[in-house]
Amino acid sequence: MALRIWASSTANALRLSSATRLHFSPLSRCFSSGNLHSYPSNSPSLCSFLKFRRQNRNLTYALVSIAVLDGLKYANSHEWVKHEGSVATIGITDHAQDHLGEVVFVELPDIGGSVTKANGFGAVESVKATSDVNSPISGEIVEVNTNLKETPGLINSSPYEAGWMIKVKPSNPSELEALMGPKEYTKFCEEEDGAH
């Protein structure tokens, strides 16, 4: 019952149509709902999964919804790719930004450079940690998100939309096939979080 109430309030908060289904794994307990991102009502339907985040060092937990979007492909290093025509947009996932904390600095490559599948193309800094970001595919960089220089927090508030990092012309489109789909990635995240 609590999960159904949560699900409908999530749908409202994310401004999704009532026809859109939210997928989530069953949980034995619910506490308060946590952070929810806003997505435009015409966005592709989304999966999401629930996880607990411990607040500070106290034993209070917030229920946090982690969004996984349909229509994107995912790498096991928690980057996403959106392939539209001849260009692929790349960023880091909601799961990744949640694990990073508040992003305060983003290092991006130059336009015209190249990226190689599974190799680093830039970095983000949060909580005094710089974390490399890897490209899920190979190709030529045709655009970078210069907004991230002034507003690195876009990666936290809008990881799949305004927080995109680079756009690439894929050199080997078959690499996209090897990436995970949304359901597979959701399961991957749940297993990674649940195993520890």
Partner: protein, 231 residues
């Protein structure tokens, strides 16, 4: 069933900053291909100022040439965080571990590093706390006793934490430490009334706190001389 996890700890004594950096890079790439297990370097540095990836050198308050006169070096690094000072009687831990193997993200990892220093402080009756208003580090009241600056590459960590046992705090006057202008730096010596044992003892305790917080079952201690492992 949880597989038992071992931590290999290298006690290195005092090591030049660049030598330690080169060693970390080698170990991180070995760790990435699973050639080695999780490894922790426990050491101290000669007087050294370091900057992070953001290259915030406006927080260095004296010209670089003057640092040389003081007997200190300056290095630019790829770690997160702002400018800081490392020197004798400051305990340094550089964990080279796989965060993916233990399902930790950057935020949780750094919290655990803070907890390591908080726990060590409590052994000496010092009440420290972390994450003041999202400012990473370990504080006693308004005074900073421990600093963190980390690099995570393909889920493998390098750099780490620095805990002030009893360093010469005047070195901190030449920088805006961690970019925070109006707060003091402190040390375990200043904050506790207890007589401190040798640095080696405190460093071992710090390592034990780390191992316990990160859930390692066993610590394998190794005493290493950096010159010997320079291959």
């Amino acid at each position: 069933m949880r597989i038992p996890r071992n931590l290999e700890v290298w006690r290195l004594g005092t090591v030049n900053y660049l030598k330690a950096l080169k060693l970390q890079e080698k170990l991180a790439s070995d760790r990435k291909i699973n050639k080695i297990t999780d490894t922790l370097l426990s050491l101290q540095h000669p007087p050294t100022y370091t900057l992070g990836k953001r290259r915030t050198d406006y927080n260095l308050l004296v010209p670089e040439s003057e640092l040389k006169n003081m007997g200190a070096e300056l290095h630019y690094t790829q770690r997160g965080g702002d400018i800081t000072f490392h020197g004798p009687h400051q305990a340094i831990l550089y964990p080279i571990i796989s965060l993916r193997d233990i399902g930790l993200g950057a935020r949780k990892y750094v919290e655990n590093l803070e907890s390591t220093m908080i726990e060590l402080s409590s052994l000496y009756g010092v009440k420290a706390h972390g994450q003041r208003k999202c400012e990473t580090g370990v504080w006693v009241g308004d005074r900073k006793i421990g600093a963190i600056g980390v690099r995570i590459s393909t889920g493998i960590t390098s750099h780490g934490l620095a805990f002030n046992i009893d360093p010469d705090l005047t070195f901190f006057k030449h920088i805006v430490p961690c970019g925070i202008a109006d707060k003091d730096v402190t040390s375990l010596r200043r904050e506790t009334d207890l007589v401190l044992p040798d640095d080696e003892v405190i460093q071992e305790q710090l390592v034990s706190c780390f191992a316990r917080l990160f859930g390692y079952n066993d610590i394998i201690w190794k005493d290493k001389n950096v010159i010997e492992i320079d291959d």
